[in-house]
Subunit: 321 residues, 4 copies
């Protein structure tokens, strides 16, 4: 079982804890020490909670200790009002479990990613649809209705646009704004195409270096920010190398070749085909624009409901600018 | 040698005549009747002209009779002022060979594609950087300097946004505006990753149904529009199925398997892996936003110089809004 | 009483029939032959219907024969979910009165204006939020639910961007698409600042030359398009000249000067102060971006409900891309 | 001479030192103690340097001690390549006089304003056209050519979008990035319509509270940021109140009324007419989108040339993303 080496060779991290766990457990479904997985089946979604509770689990998963809640909702890709509203509500409930209940909370929402590249624009798009209120507390308290918490929001851009590490910008703002908690939204890369546009991961661990479509170089988490960081991510792409490996392994299986072994030449051939752009090639559906639009709407709605108790599905759109 | 069947099975057309010719000729480099290929080597570009001059050639190439000029410039992907300016000038010269020299020409520029999806936004972005003058002829002739021709421009959007076939919109506008010639810009899909961001095809045949990233359903050509249509296209993606096939065939070669044969199971495995999104998955580099930005700049500059004799590299930026 | 001469001198038309009627009737409130005005008071809106029913009325009003329904809702400027939803519903009801009830209707929605200039971007923004279905009838009838009518949509841009008269583009598309009816959305100029952001006019007359913020040169109406055209417009600006005149006349009143007379020098002084930009200066609030965003949302919601009987306030957002 | 009271009453500051000086000096052209004005006439521009060198001058001008260089170039409003290039070069020269010559400088560029409101989008648009290099120093030094300095860039948004004071965001980033100097670009309000789109002010004082179209509440200057701040601003609007006062005073002059006196009722009438939107109404030309586009291009070009010695007019466009 040496498949992770392709990931290592190309410097690819699995963003979804669910997929990392699946890959580690392999065909035999063996238990991974220090990792627990719980499943909850709902009519239109499966919620899987992967908990990494020991350093050994963290090392094997290559992910920090913490809780990774994944909502899988294949029907999210179909535009159906009721299902999408259901997923927003589910996201809101799961988020609320991770956020202190105090009304006095100051929350910083951060939308990571590059607004100029559709698959990476999820974070900034969610920011554009969030109910921002922090300034009202200072300048127009009369515009506040009960049940609105203090929320501020930032889409810091990416290194290529600003010349500044995103984590540096956020850290600078955190030191001024002093929020109690941060919620970070980012586009992710999945291992499986099935999960594009249909999956939302909520992690109480923040964001590790090297994850996300835009590949953070520095983590955005309690350690770097000094406050709890909840990360919400959705796969919008699959790394091209990963999908190539998948097709090759499936083919070998069909041809009854190699019997689960994995000739090392595979990595070389893949690297070679992808060489003009290195690890940066991603696979994405043509409908990526409407998919990201819909994900942003579903996630923003869930976040707004979770953060502001007075926001309901029917009045939400009017709190937005 | 039955590889085209994957394309047929997934309804994929090769957009670049150069690649279709390469594929047809295969490893043996056999001549294709009715098709001629000429190469011109320049310091920073190779210009290949594929001419399809007989119906048999057209049938085999699955492309209309006509001239397909392809500029391959790998250095276009590096941001180097001198090389890019060189390619703009080269594009302008090649375009001028296809456009009548009359000053009295009325030209309609059309930018196909979806402005909301980065890899498909090339056409609209070129429109945003074109020197549009037709209204000055009617309303402000004093603002016209000699050497500006009458150019109007349209970015008609895509079916999913308007609910209208793009060709219908363009045809409607053509019947009102009565241009003498149309230049259409579109994002293409390549067979080879190498060609993403480094290749410009100029065809005097217009656009055939099923080509481009956004997949026109109806052709945009002399037949449907009643005027000559010059198509300028650049690959910004590769179909995921194509790249998968490439990696599999390379692997077989490395493993000395199948000796050039091609087990039909390949197509099934590929289709199966891609099935959640059908043929619509594409591979694209993460830097797609800056790549499309640069291509748009290079192409718009070439078009502006070709259409307006008085526009030069150094004064161009000031004619733009 | 010679105040209209300022409008004539600067080529300014009053876009709102309500204001044109008010101005004509003057302080004395005299009746205008061929014009009738009806008022309906609702809790959060006043609906005024001005009907021009004789050629003399049309000549005096400088507007075509027809019905002009104006919704005045000062609270629209406050972001209050319930009031805005109320106004969307009201707009939907008033629109439905002007649209045939047949399910088989083909409707073309047109968003006039310049997406690059915030106060003029209302039309394109409404298009971006409309439920477009025409292509589903042709390509994916299974995605259609009962109660969706065939709607297509176009944001044709402005003369300075395309080089083509907007009416030419629309007429070209109409001849291809053959809709039964057209709904056109545009940003208007008001006479009174009060009406910015708080007023919606629905007219069964289409759009006359010279109206709207972007000033159509050619009408978009039954005469030019060959089908009924319903125009929906909202003031987002006031002409600078108009507001200057207002302040001067108020000042004279306060100073008890001129007793209702109007020294002709006023027009010259105003023209002189505005001369660097001629009639093109407009007055607009700094919050214009969020105001236009909110108007677009309210109007798009009303239109979607009116055109698609199955769209309701609670499911609307999910039909949108 | 009590005209400033309108400004005070409405909380309006004159952004251009040139205009504040003009207003103070009044019709008599009296000297203001502690303020010096120097003029330089160039073929297509007048450069006026207002230096405030004593606390008394600062108090009277209601502006901090420092140097305010104003480029007035009426022809900037005409799209003429040569004139615009001339102004970019002039701006670059004037900027270089204020920036240390060291190659080792780290510079933070900040684009203030709201990207959603055209007249206030100047700052963010300049950021979008700046040559950003700081990340190359850290991650890709081989991509650096000699003559590029370390520049990073930020468009922090406005309070209504983020819920955070802009100065807080910038200060947070400054503390992380530790630049040696900051260059801030902002849209301004002028007193005179003539100056819209034709004027660039460069001040070594940074930005004071209450200035700019978006009205900073907190200063962005050496005092708040701890490093020198150079502010570049262009008027894109005139406050509606100011233009109303101008038209009234001109009218009185024409009518030979009040002989330079100023009946206090004027302020009340103006406030009353503007009351639906308070001081937030601004006057702006309809062509604001192309005007802001052109100003952004001219300013970005000047800044890029000033900051990066190796950037020249002819190669600039290729350093941009």
């Amino acid at each position: 079982m040496n498949s992770p080496s392709l990931y290592q060779q190309l410097g690819i991290n699995l963003d979804l804890a669910l997929e990392a766990h699946e890959l580690l457990r392999g065909a035999t479904g063996q238990e991974i020490p220090g990792v627990r997985e719980d499943k909850e089946e709902l009519p239109n979604a499966t919620v899987t909670t992967v908990t990494i509770f020991s350093p050994e689990g963290a090392r094997m998963m290559n992910k920090p200790l913490g809780k990774y809640i994944t909502i899988e909702a294949p029907n999210l890709r179909i535009i159906d009002p009721e299902i999408q509203s259901e997923i927003s509500n589910l996201l809101a409930r799961k988020l609320q479990e991770l956020i202190p209940t105090s009304e006095q909370l100051n929350i910083l929402l951060v939308g990571l990613g590059n607004w100029n590249a559709t698959p990476d624009a999820l974070g900034p798009k969610v920011i554009g649809q969030s109910v921002v209120t922090r300034h009202l507390y200072n300048y127009a308290p009369e515009a506040l209705t009960p049940g609105l918490r203090s929320v501020c929001a930032l889409a810091p851009g990416v290194l290529g646009i600003t010349g500044i590490e995103t984590a540096e910008i956020i850290r600078g703002v955190v030191e001024k704004v002093r929020p109690n908690i941060m919620v970070v939204v980012d586009a992710l890369a999945a291992k499986s195409i099935d999960r594009i546009g249909s999956t939302i991961q909520i992690a109480d661990t923040g964001i590790s270096p090297g994850s996300g479509v835009g590949n953070q170089r520095v983590g955005i988490n309690q350690e770097t920010m000094g406050i709890p960081v909840i990360a919400i991510g959705c796969p919008t792409v699959v790394h091209a190398a990963i999908i190539m490996e998948e097709v090759i392994l499936k083919l070998f299986q069909e041809l009854n070749m190699y019997q689960g072994l994995r000739p090392p030449i595979i990595n070389d051939v893949i690297s070679n085909v992808l060489s003009p752009f290195g690890g940066s090639l991603t696979v994405t559906p043509k409908e990526i624009d409407s998919m990201v639009e819909n994900l942003a709407k579903t996630i923003a709605r869930g976040i707004n409901q979770a953060l502001h108790p007075s926001v309901t599905p029917s009045n939400l759109s009017y709190y937005l600018q």
